[in-house]
Amino acid sequence: MSKKQVTLECICALLILLFLYASISKFLDFKTFIDQMNNQPLPNSWTPFLVWSIPLLEIAISITLLFEYTRLLGLYASLVLMVIFTLYTGIVLLHFFHYIPCSCGGVIRNLTWSQHLTLNLFYIAILVLGIILQHQQRKSFKPNYINNKHSLV
């Protein structure tokens, strides 16, 4: 296993760690999660949709990151999700809303919004690296049936 492959596996492991931890924490304390979602400066009518879609999406992305065939899709989906989270954090920090909500949730409740932003940017950076490595791996990957096509005849 090359260094690049190990790096890619570690990136996927870090993403699974984040998404799976975040989603399970939300389901384990679902009432608090609903309250926290209501606390966000978003319309409360969005809450029933968001409280289910966010953790389920995080679990779905974690599953796609496990398997080779769906990994690239998972990496792109993670990037989109992290960019959305980061934009939201940036908007909150820029005082776009009429108040700054508390960033409480799971063990991440101890982080301030600035620390949230730093964490998100770190994840975006490793995601970009992961996508590049995954593309390189796909290019160098030659399926067995190509090498063995003569044996099929």
Binding site: M1, Q5, V6, E9, C10, C12, A13, L14, I16, L17, L18, F19, L20, Y21, I24, S25, L28, D29, T32, D35, Q36, M37, N38, N39, Q40, P41, N44, T47, S62, L66, H98, Y99, I100, P101, C102, S103, C104, G106, V107, R109, T112, W113
Partner: protein
């Protein structure tokens, strides 16, 4: 290769599940309270009656055995609907 891959990924899965269970809230809090300045009052429903704004204060407390324990820290209790400064009442005019 597959062995190393699945070792790393299995560790990530187990660690995330274990961490989520280890850091979940242990107690089931019935009600949350906030400090009014002179005493504690029921906070109501978050997002409906109040929001916790980022600050160095404590937004809500839990109550158990006569003790109020900080619940949502690093935030400030802000009742919804009365965040703006109250307007001054118009001065009374005397009828002659």
């Amino acid at each position: 290769m597959n062995k190393i891959k699945w070792t790393i990924l299995t560790f990530a899965i187990l660690f995330s599940i274990g961490s989520a269970f280890a850091t979940r809230p242990r107690a089931n809090f019935g009600s949350l309270y906030y400090w009014t300045g002179s005493g504690y009052a029921l906070a109501g429903t978050e997002g409906m009656n109040y929001v916790c704004e980022t600050s160095s204060n404590v937004c809500t407390y839990t109550y158990s055995g006569g003790v109020y324990t900080p619940y949502q820290t690093s935030s400030n209790y802000t009742p919804l609907g009365i965040t703006a400064e109250p307007t001054k009442p118009a001065p009374k005019t005397e009828k002659k």
